[in-house]
């Protein structure tokens, strides 16, 4: 893959490290160390995940148009070992050289002496300001929080033996950010004040996820925290806005495609969070917009055309929403809605990944799969929360409910037949006392009608059957739409007065 900047290169290397950690069975640690001695930064990314294979690094392409030679010399120093290896392999890889010269330099291996561990360390030197790099790395880690990659059931940390120079030091164990990956970001600034370790990365609360939670459960939990922290603008959950959990409604949908010889199995997970908050001090209304975060193979990704197409082709009207536009904003897609209620906010995250890792990532999920995933999430939301995302049609029909209820209540209350009235009271679950006012009856009928409309709005169109008829012995023979009476006698207008 093409690398176009040092930031992207570093992010890519960290991302690979995360994937390796994800694949390993146990609790891992990831460490990113930035040693700054201006103008050079020595970046060291180490993890205790599965050992890496060289193809990962050799596949990186770096041409002169991307990263200039003054920023990076093209050299990667790699140390890696798998659980089954009995040595730690050490390489230097020069990505700048021409094909033949782009050679691996094998350096002497380091014996493991029967210790069982795995890990990788990648080092490189770049010329960049530390703040620019830091910003991107922090942003990456914050996004990764949403994924909440699984935690191991074994709580023990793999012991890591320190060997000489540049292997990850057995530093203090921080709170996990990826729940199985104890991660730390260490910055050592070589300046007048000497060596300073800044642990930039902040702990977060434990939440009740365990190893057996599915990926989508984690994604839900991650998005929930993201929203509760006001989209990562806070470090902790905001207590004043979300004092009750009901204010935040989350649902998910998973769509997967079959594996075949032509394409790998793909999974699309979509999570949608709807928060209903009245205006509060800390909540700045972001208007009618939704940022759709995208992840691909457990890593933050850019927005694909397929995804934009999927988002624009969904029938939002059946969920009571109207889409104005969906735009690619590089690291997320921005959806603009036409008139959301002012207190309502929608957040969305879409994660596409291959069932098998590693693999050749040639196939992108098509828009049908993404659309299916998002629709499943929307339907799930509607299913779990009555009255949410009511289609425009249902809202319109609900507006007629008071008048219908009023008519029926009128009939009931103007009847002198006591048996009839008491039967109606029973059906409406009202008390049998005579003193029930019209308003009570009317309100009860209205409630029932609205609840039926809302419930039935959730059913997909296909299974909606014709409503039962009012008089049971009538069976329809054909259902023509109601017709104009006058059609039969077209002359019933001006020439002849209407028959009484």
């Amino acid at each position: 893959m093409d690398i176009s900047s040092v930031q992207k290169l570093c992010i890519h290397l960290i991302s690979s490290a995360v994937q390796r950690c994800r694949l390993s069975e146990g609790l891992c640690r990831l460490s990113v160390v930035l040693k700054s001695s201006p103008p050079i930064i020595r970046v060291s990314i180490s993890d205790t995940g599965t050992g890496s294979c060289l193809e990962e690094f050799q596949d990186l392409k770096c041409n002169r148009e991307g990263i200039g030679t003054e920023k990076w010399d093209g050299l990667l120093s790699i140390k890696t070992t798998s659980i089954s290896d009995n040595k730690i392999y050490h390489y230097h890889l020069n990505l700048r050289g021409s094909v033949s010269a782009r050679r691996l330099t094998r350096l002497p291996s380091i014996p493991k002496n029967d210790a069982k561990f795995s890990g990788t360390e990648v080092c490189l030197s770049i010329s960049e300001t530390i703040d620019a790099l830091l910003k991107d790395i922090k942003h990456y880690f914050q996004k990764m929080l949403i994924l909440k990659i699984p935690v191991s059931s074994t709580a023990t940390l793999m012991p890591f033996i320190c060997t000489q120079n540049d292997m990850v030091r057995n530093l203090y164990f921080n709170e996990t950010f990826l729940k199985s990956v104890a991660a730390e970001l260490v910055i050592e600034r070589g300046d007048a004040s000497g060596l300073r370790c800044e642990n930039v990365f902040l702990p977060n609360e434990c939440s009740p996820l365990n190893f057996s939670s599915s990926n989508v459960e984690r994604l839900k939990s991650g998005l929930e925290e993201y929203v509760l922290k006001h989209r990562n603008s806070l470090n902790n959950k905001c207590d004043s806005c979300f004092c009750s959990r009901e204010k935040l409604k989350i649902s998910s949908g998973v769509a997967s495609s079959m594996e075949s010889h032509r394409s790998p199995g793909l999974i699309v997970e979509a999570v949608i969070a709807i928060s209903e908050l009245p205006e509060s001090l800390c909540f700045r209304s972001s208007g009618n917009k939704t940022e759709v975060l995208h992840f691909k193979d457990f890593s933050p990704s850019s927005v694909s055309i397929a995804s934009l197409n999927a988002l624009t082709s969904i029938d939002w009207r059946s969920y009571g929403l109207t889409l104005v536009s969906a735009v690619d904003q590089v690291d997320h897609a921005l959806i603009e809605w036409e008139s959301l209620p002012p207190y309502l906010h929608i957040d969305m995250v879409i994660h596409c990944y291959h069932k098998q890792y590693p693999g050749k990532y040639k196939y992108q999920p098509d828009r049908h799969l993404i659309k299916k995933g998002v629709k499943l999430a929307l339907d799930d939301l509607k299913e779990k929360h009555t009255g949410l995302l009511l289609s425009a049609h249902a809202v319109k029909i609900c507006s007629y409910a008071p008048d219908l209820a009023s008519s029926i209540a009128g009939i009931i209350l103007s009847s002198n037949d006591l048996k009839f009235r008491s039967k109606c009271s029973t059906l409406l679950e009202l008390s049998q006392s005579q003193a029930i006012g019209k308003q009570t009856v009317e309100d009860r009928i209205k409630e029932k009608i609205i609840s039926v409309i809302e419930t039935n709005d959730r059913k997909p169109e296909k299974i909606k059957e014709a409503a039962p008829f009012l008089f049971e012995d009538d069976r329809p023979q054909d259902l023509d739409p109601a017709d104009l009476y006058l059609e039969e006698h077209a002359g019933g207008g001006n020439v002849f007065s209407f028959p009484d």
Binding site: F420, L427, F498
Partner: protein, 382 residues
Amino acid sequence: MDDLSKSSMKFFSDQQLCFADILLPHEVQARIQVAVLNFLKILSSPDPEISDLPLINRKSSNSRVSEGILTDVSWIFLSHSFCSRSLMKANATKAFIRVWKVMEMCFEFLTQEKRVTQRELFYKLLCDSPHYFSSQLQVNRTIQDVVALLRCSRYSLGIMASSKGLVAGRILLQEPNQEAVDCSACGSSGYAISGDLNLLESLIMKTDARYIVVVEKHAIFQRLAEDHVFNQIPSILLTAKGYPDIATRFLLHRMSRAFPDLPILALVDWNPAGLAILSTYKFGSIGMGLEAYRYACNVKWLGLRGDDLQLIPQQSLAPLKPRDLQIARSLISSTTLQDNYRQELAVMMQSGQRAEIEALYSNGYDYLGKYLAKKIVQANYI
């Protein structure tokens, strides 16, 4: 006709008949109550829905003809095809609610034992629910929906049809406990037919006429009444001033049963609309098909007919209008039209012309009476 529905000997075609019962107020209220109970039952059921309203289809596709076998009267009736009004159909929601609103209002009137006209009902609904009712036509249509839903006659709902009909001629009509009215002495305006069907039912009728003449237009009726044509040929004159309303047809039907030997002859304009009016007296209508079949009478077409055209000057012929053609088309497609009527209609269409009865005046003001008398005596009617 009513006897037929009660008789144990039901023809196959009668099983297909859907009719509106003539019911007492409390019976209609009972049906409305059943409607409410069923609606609530389905609304509160474990699998709740908002029930649709099944209405008998008032379309030609649902109309059938009962050919007169034992009698010489054929009639149109409606069969068991339904259309439904649903709350959930986006454009039909208001129509659905209109039916309920009319039912509510009728229920109230029935409790108070009041009778209202369609016009009064319209104004009441307009005040009550202006969003739903915007015209008399809509109200009338909704009333027919309620008739089709509850299968009871409009009159049973407490809605009186205001009548336009007039009677003149050699007949005595007596309301119970009132003086008899001699319709030959009513002058040119005749006796106004009430819209109250119960009252019409209770009228005591006596006549020495030999014919009943149904006249399309008021002006012609007035002319004939003024000229005392009914004395020259003993007859009864009847008009609905155009398209016949239920009350007029009701009375005509009563007369035809009370005086079965009197042929009923129709005097209409020579155009498709005139034939349509004749057909309505003769067979009933689809629009009120659940009730109208009861009042079908064996009406014969006296004039104007194709062979009368020689009696009128060429200039008095006018071209057929698009409306006329529409009516003609729907008449042709109706199964009830007998062949000789079809032929007349075909001639009308081919010539593209129409003629009014008044055209006969070109031969003199008293010509109409003579024309009528001559045709009757010659039994020149089909």
